[in-house]
Symmetry: C2
Subunit: 214 residues, 2 copies
């Protein structure tokens, strides 16, 4: 599967690109905003395209030509304001869904955040961020796409363990970004993850087993 | 019709309350956040309730008990950040729609902004504000409510003329807040506005005729 990674320069996105590149089944196309990012990836023999989530749906659909699936791991990040949360995490994500529908790309994985699906679980300090996640997730669930929504707990930079807890139940906890990336790549062709949203924390189960047991 | 005005302390909301109070058909319930606002309204013999758009859907549904219709004119305003735009203009509006559905209140009018329905018409300087309006409008159109979405042009404080242009076509222009308030109240029982969104500018047609001609 040829997979467009949106947010390929982000902390999780970089790891997703690496794991797709290392896989035997899939090949990555890294969507980045800056030419120097594109050049750096190409030096490592990774396909890259220049695009911006503030572009139009039509322009985003062009980037999806020849692509079989999308992993959306973009986020405006903590250093920009809530106006970028609206433009990137909410409208950017939904425009990419519309572009996928337009381009006939069926498979769409979205990295969301634990608890995003229920207002009572939103963390008070980043409540407005959760609003964006909530409506982006809902839009994907209401789309015609074959979606998977991965809702990781608190992201940490510790090395991945390859052992996770993936469930539609809700619990608080942490998970290394490395394991989130691996779960995303493992989910690409794991049918139990199709048209499903699940929470993801560090756990006891191997990633392969976890995504195939959902 | 007993009408809950959400954002009753806002610039348009105050005028909406006044026009409902003066009408023979309707009576207002002003939803406000502060006790001193409630007391001030009650001194003018206007019913008022204390509630906050950051409350839960269940709490908002309680406020709707005995109410026949809602006019939502709340907005986080220019002085707060985009995080409040997410919490009030987007999630607050949609929670109020869910509360109306829960409480069995059928009629729901929303004050939006001209051009909100098409990304290419969003003003560049306040693009993130338009993201919130766009998704709130869409949620209302997809709800089970008997909605009307009024999308005024640039709001001005000049006195109302009672003459407007109301259309599903798109044009840039201005409109006094006073006339927006009058159009909202006139739309409450005007069947041509039911389940419809329209743009509103200053124009040549009387308000009564304009809303009944849509």
């Amino acid at each position: 599967m040829k997979v467009l990674v949106v947010g390929a320069n982000g902390q999780i996105g970089q790891k997703i690109v690496k794991h797709i590149q290392e896989s035997e089944e899939h090949s990555p196309v890294a969507m980045v905003r800056k030419n120097e990012q594109k050049e750096r990836l190409e030096k490592e023999w990774i396909d890259a395209v220049l695009a911006n989530l503030e572009d139009s749906v039509d322009d985003l659909a062009k980037v999806l030509s020849g692509v079989d699936g999308v992993i959306f791991s973009a986020g405006s990040g903590g250093s920009t304001g809530a106006d970028k949360t609206l433009l990137i995490d909410l409208d950017g994500a939904i425009k990419m869904m519309e572009a996928a529908e337009q381009a006939g790309v069926d498979r769409f994985l979205l990295i969301s955040a634990i608890g995003a699906d229920k207002r009572e679980n939103w963390s008070e300090e980043i409540k407005s961020y959760y609003v964006a996640k909530y409506y982006a997730d809902k839009a994907l669930e209401n789309s015609s796409l074959n979606y998977t929504i991965i809702r990781p707990g608190a992201l940490v930079n510790e090395p991945g363990t390859g052992k996770v807890w993936a469930s539609t139940d809700f619990e608080y906890g942490k998970v290394p970004r490395e394991d989130v990336a691996r779960v995303a790549v493992a989910s690409l062709t794991a049918e139990p993850t199709y048209r499903k949203a699940f929470n993801l924390l560090s756990g006891e189960t191997s990633i392969e087993e976890a995504v195939n047991r959902l």
